[in-house]
């Protein structure tokens, strides 16, 4: 962690009102300590076989971290996947796109899921659908790490780029050309969106994000879950 610049997120002003599509300056990368992420990685590194499902574009730092853990990483490039989800015309089409975006080998089911901030960019009903699909692919009792925008009324309109910084922090390259309203979802509300998961730990970060460790409640069927009726729109 030497030399790391630890400071507030540039988009955690708090006092500003939500102004979607407001132009904002491009910011330099910032580093944020993530205590729960550190615990998760520590447990994963000290345990047995670890399979990580990572919802972030591949990065040198991420691969280096997981290389030290001798684990397997299934990579979902979420910004690309989000663009695909937005083109879904029906609920069935959305599910098909979700399944196509997530690499899956039944012999290697993920027991750690790194969501970073991607849940912030999905409507509540779509969060349920995406994470239900993820649950079907994961090992029983898999753990999931997520960052939810909470205290700040706005956040970058596009997902940020997250790269692990050592084992206890993350470097964030915000894309703040445009801002949008943040979901500000409370833990209870998130739990309602994710009936297959329970919240293990939650911690408020100084950046205004809430850091979550969630856990799959049990074994899920590998078969795709039923698709809800109606059209799901990814905002």
């Amino acid at each position: 962690m030497q030399g790391a610049r630890l400071r507030r997120f540039p988009f955690s002003g708090g006092g500003r009102s939500a102004r979607p599509e407001t132009p904002a300056p491009v910011e330099a990368p910032v580093t944020e300590r993530l205590p729960l992420f550190a615990e998760l990685i520590e447990r994963a590194a000290s345990g047995g076989r670890c399979v990580v499902l990572d919802f972030a574009p591949p990065s040198q730092a991420g691969i280096a971290l997981f290389n030290d853990m001798h684990c397997r990483v299934d990579i979902v490039n979420f910004p690309q996947a989000l663009a695909s989800f937005k083109q879904a015309s029906t609920a069935e089409d959305l599910v098909r796109r979700i399944r196509a975006a997530i690499p899956h080998d039944p012999a290697h089911r993920p027991n750690v899921v790194l969501c970073w901030d991607f849940l912030n960019y999905l409507p509540r009903n779509v969060i349920s659908v995406v994470m239900e699909q993820v649950a079907c692919l994961c090992a029983p009792h898999a753990q999931m790490h997520a960052l939810m925008a909470y205290s700040s009324p706005e956040m970058p309109a596009q997902p940020c780029r997250y790269t692990p910084f050592g084992r206890d922090a993350v470097e964030i390259r915000p894309r703040v050309e445009r801002m949008r309203e943040s979901p500000r979802m409370a833990p209870k509300e998130l739990e309602r969106c994710l009936p297959g998961y329970s919240i293990d730990r939650v911690m408020m970060l100084r950046s205004g994000f809430q850091e979550y460790i969630l856990r799959l409640k049990g074994a899920h069927s590998d078969a795709p879950p039923e698709v809800p009726e109606g059209v799901l729109t990814v905002g």
Binding site: R49, P58, S59, Q60, I63, A64, F66, N67, M69, H70, C71, R72, V73, D74, I75, N77, P103, D105, H108, T163
Partner: protein, 192 residues
């Protein structure tokens, strides 16, 4: 497919590859498309397209910035600047450069990846899982060659020539009459 062949005649490469390669390795030029499996026992630089499996038992495979493999690749070390649509296995390490585009599984005990590289799939870095996967996929191909089938000549494409022996039948004597004293000629070989 040797390096000498590729260096010949009017510089077939528009731009030299940035991929680090040993100078004595073989290479496949950007205007070459090979359909079928490729096995080599020397370092190989691919700037062309291979549709099929590429297996280098104990050498380095480099996929240059213009190179493309549609299929599975195995080598001791793999360096990717170009495109691979398929799984990549390496006994030692895989280096993925920022210009690389990979769709498939990447399996090696050591993996390095430059920011900006496109990777859609999985990265397996567990040595035990890699060993198991390599054995399942390439077990037969990676068995050591039996001594009796090893060619004595460095040119693998030419079958080993028969040992010259003195024959007493007239036909052989006549055939060898206007050849060199060693008797190591194609006609002599054909008569065997």
């Amino acid at each position: 497919m040797s390096a000498e062949n590729n260096q010949a005649a009017n510089n077939p490469y528009p731009q030299p590859s940035q991929t680090a390669m040993r100078r004595d390795g073989a290479s496949i030029g950007p205007k070459t498309h090979i359909k079928g499996d490729l096995h080599a026992e020397e370092d190989l630089l691919i700037e062309g397209k291979i549709t099929g499996m590429v297996v280098l038992k104990s050498n380095q495979l480099a996929v240059g910035s213009q190179g493309r493999i549609v299929g599975t690749a195995f080598a001791n070390v793999v360096v990717v600047d170009g495109t691979i649509e398929g799984d990549i296995y390496a006994a030692e390490r895989i280096a993925i450069k920022k210009s690389a585009r990979i769709q498939g599984a990447v399996m090696a005990p050591r993996v390095s990846l430059e920011d900006g590289a496109h990777l859609r799939g999985s990265v397996e870095m567990d040595p035990d899982a890699i060993k198991e996967a390599v054995q399942a996929k390439f077990g037969d191909l990676l068995q050591p060659s039996r001594p009796e089938v090893k060619p004595s000549s460095p040119v693998a494409a030419v079958p080993p020539r028969p040992v010259a022996v003195e024959r007493k039948d007239e036909a052989v004597k006549d055939a060898a009459g206007d050849k060199d004293a060693s008797g190591k000629t194609e006609s002599n070989a054909a008569s065997k």
